[in-house]
Subunit: 456 residues, 2 copies
Amino acid sequence: MSLDATLARIDANLPAALDRLTALLRIPSISTDPAYADKCQQAADWLVQDLQSLGIAAETRATPGHPMVVGHVEGDGPHVLFYGHYDVQPVDPLNLWDRDPFDPAIEETPKGRVIRGRGSSDDKGQLMTFVEACRAWKAEHGSMPCRITFFFEGEEESGSPSLIPFLKENKEELKADIALICDTGLFESRVPAIMTQLRGLLGEQITLTGPDKDLHSGMYGGVARNPIRVLSRILANLHDDNGHIQVPHFYDGVPELSDEMKAQWEALNFDHGTFLGDVGLSKPAGEQDRSALEMIWSRPTAEINGIIGGYTGDGFKTVLPSKASAKVSFRLVGQQDPHALREHFREWVRAQLPEDVSVEFHGHGASPASQMQTTHPAFESARSVLGAEWGHEAAFTGCGGSIPVAGYFKSILDMDTMLVGWGKDDDQIHSPNEKYDVESFHKGIRSWARILDAIR
Amino acid sequence: MSLDATLARIDANLPAALDRLTALLRIPSISTDPAYADKCQQAADWLVQDLQSLGIAAETRATPGHPMVVGHVEGDGPHVLFYGHYDVQPVDPLNLWDRDPFDPAIEETPKGRVIRGRGSSDDKGQLMTFVEACRAWKAEHGSMPCRITFFFEGEEESGSPSLIPFLKENKEELKADIALICDTGLFESRVPAIMTQLRGLLGEQITLTGPDKDLHSGMYGGVARNPIRVLSRILANLHDDNGHIQVPHFYDGVPELSDEMKAQWEALNFDHGTFLGDVGLSKPAGEQDRSALEMIWSRPTAEINGIIGGYTGDGFKTVLPSKASAKVSFRLVGQQDPHALREHFREWVRAQLPEDVSVEFHGHGASPASQMQTTHPAFESARSVLGAEWGHEAAFTGCGGSIPVAGYFKSILDMDTMLVGWGKDDDQIHSPNEKYDVESFHKGIRSWARILDAIR
C-alpha cells in the first residue's frame, strides 16, 4: 500500500532531511532585530528554492517587513493551506548557550538524539516536517496528495505586522478548505495533541520619565522622583496577592471552561509537579483558585517580559535615572478584546503616575484568542491516524501560546485551522539551547504523510 | 603682598592650567569597569609626573585594585593632607552625550565658559585646583606654604575597596593635622560652602532567580513564578505612600536636626523650585513631612539605582526570565550603622520571597555618615578668605553626597577633615555631558591659594 511505501521512503531519507533542516537553521533569521533583515530574506529565498525543487511554483512576496513565501500545487481533492514561520527568536543571553545557536548539530542525549540550535523546534524544524512529507509523497506518487498552498511567514516572532494586510490583499489566492499549522507540541512530550483553543496576545512597552536627565543620587537622592521606583509600584499592582490581574475590565469576556472540556482535561492527569520541576519550580504561581492546566490553557495572564532602568553594568553607580522601561504582555482567552484592553491598561498606568512622571507607550501586537472548529472532518481524520503513528490516541488540548494567524485565517479568510505539532515541553523554545528531538522530526514527517493520506 | 602676586600668577597661567586639566581628562579612568584598569594606572602615573614636576616626592602605590598616588612636601607650620580622586564614573548612556566624554573641550555657553568632559567636575577638575594653587605658590615663593601630603585615590567611584586597608597600613605616613578634600560644591552655584555633615552610603545588589532557565511565556506564563514580578513587589515596598522607608530598624540612629543648624539652613532660603526645575521636576518626592533641604542633607534615603531582567532589546520577546536584578543604595545619616542595616535589608528582602524564588546579595561599600569638627581653626580661616574670593560669605552646609574617606580619616587616622569645593548644581556629575565651569576652576585655584595662605 502506497502509504507504507511513502513512510519507508521517509525513513530511508531521514539523514538527507536532517541535512536540509541543518542548512536552514544556519541562517540567523531573527525577525525582531532589524540588524538581521537580510538573514530573514536569505531564509525566505532558501525555502523558495527548496519548494521549487519539488516542482512547486513558489516565490517570495515583499512586505514592508520581512518577505512572505507563497507556493502553490494544483491537484484534486480538498485544498489545504499549510502555514509555518521561518523567523526565530533572539538568542540572548548568549553566554547561556552551550554552542553557537546558529551552528546547529545533532547531539546524542540521555533522552535520545536532538537537533540543537535556535529555531530547531520553533518553527523551522516543525515547518520542514510538512515539506519533507510532501517531498516523500511526490517522490513516491509523482504528484502531491491534494491541492496545497504553502504559506510561510517571517515575522511571527515580532508581532506579524505585515500579516493582516497581506491576507487582506491576497484573500482569493490564500483561501483554502482548511489551514494546517505546525507550530505546537505533543501533550507532556508523549501524546499527540490537536489544539482546540489558543490564547491571544497583547504586548505593551511602558517607558517612564522622571528627571529630564540622569542625576547623582547623592545630590538628588531623596528629593527627586525616581522612575524605577514608580515603575516598580505600578508593576507590583498588576496582580493581587492571589494572582488576579487588577487592570479594570481585564476579565471582561473571559469564559468559564465547559464541563465537557473540564472533564477531558482532568482525564489527561496533567502532572504539574513534573512540568514545573523540569524548570526548577514547584508551585503554580498564577491565580490561586485555578488548576495549573487552567493557568496555562484557559486563563488570561499578565507577564513582565523585560525591565530596565539606571545603571546595570558591572560594579555600582549611584545614579538616579531619568527613565525606566518595561515590556508587559497579556495572554488573552475567550472574547477578551485586545484593543479595548490596551486602552484599559494604559488608563490604569496613567492613573498611577505621580507628579513629575510622564509615560510613553509602545504597542506590540494585539491578537484575540481563537477557538478551533473541531467538527471539521479533518479533526477526526487526523485524530485517528495520529494514534497509529504515536501509539497513543491524540488528545484535544488547549494551548498557552498564541498563534494569532489562526484567528486571522478565520476572521479574514473565513478558513478554519487545524493545529498539530511535534514539539516537546523541554525543547527550550525562546530560551538558550533550543532543541528539537530527531524523533519529533522523524515521526512528525511520517505523521503529516498519514494526515495527508487521510484527508485527501 | 605675596598673596596678590600668587593670585596674579594664577590668573596669568590659567590657559596652561586648563591644558593640563584637559590632558588628565583625556584618560578614561573608569574605576568600576575592570576593562579600564590600565587607564586608571595611566591617570595615576600622569599625576605622579605632574607632582614630581613641582619637586614633590610622589609615587604610585599598588593596591589589590587601582593604585594610590602619594606625595610629600616637607615644610614648616601645620601639616595638611590633600585628598582627591582621579577615577571617574562610567559614561553610559553614551548616546546622550553631545561629544566624546573623553575628548574634553572648553565650550562657550550662555552661562559662561565650561570644561566639558567626564571627570571635569568629579573630581579631576577639583583635584587640580589644589595642585595648580601649589604650583603657583611654589613658582612665586620657591617653596610650598606648609607641610603638605598629597593623597589621590582611584577607586572613589567604585566603593573604595582598597582605601581602608591602605590607610591602616600607612597610618604614620598619612596622618596630618587636618585633611582638605575638594570634592564638593558651592551652595546654589553661588555661595562658597564648607560641608559640615556628609551622608554615608550603603550599596546592595539583589539578584532573584525563579525558573532555572528563561521560559516561553506562552508555555509557562501564568503558572511559572516570574522573578521580575517578585522584584517589583519588593522594591515597591521599600517606601510607604509618604516616602518613609519600610526596612525594619532603618531609622535607628537617625538624629533630629539641631535648632541652631535648622535656623542656619532656613536662613539659606533654599529654592527647591529652581533646584528641581533645573532637572525637569517640581515636587520634592521624599519623606512628605520633611523640607526639601532635609531630604537632601540630613535625612536618610533608599534609591533604586538600576534594574534589569528579561528581554530589554529592540522589539518584543515573550520571555519569562530566570533572573531579575536591582542595585539599591541607601544614604545614611547620624549614627545609622551601615553593616547592621545591610543585614536588616537582606532579612527584609528574604522575608518577602515566595516559594521557588532564591536571592543572591552582592554588597557594594558601606560607610557611615560623618560630622565635621567645625571648631577646628581651619574652618574659621577658610570661611573668612572664601568670602573675599567669592564676594559672598561662606556657608556651613550639609551634603547629600557621600565622601566616605572623611569618615575613615577620622576613625582610622584620628584626623579631622575640611571639605570645600567649587562644583555647581548643574555640573551633571555622574550624568551625560558633565562639565566644570572655567570660573569654578579659576576661582577654585585662587581660593586654595587664599586658604593655604590663611592656615600656614
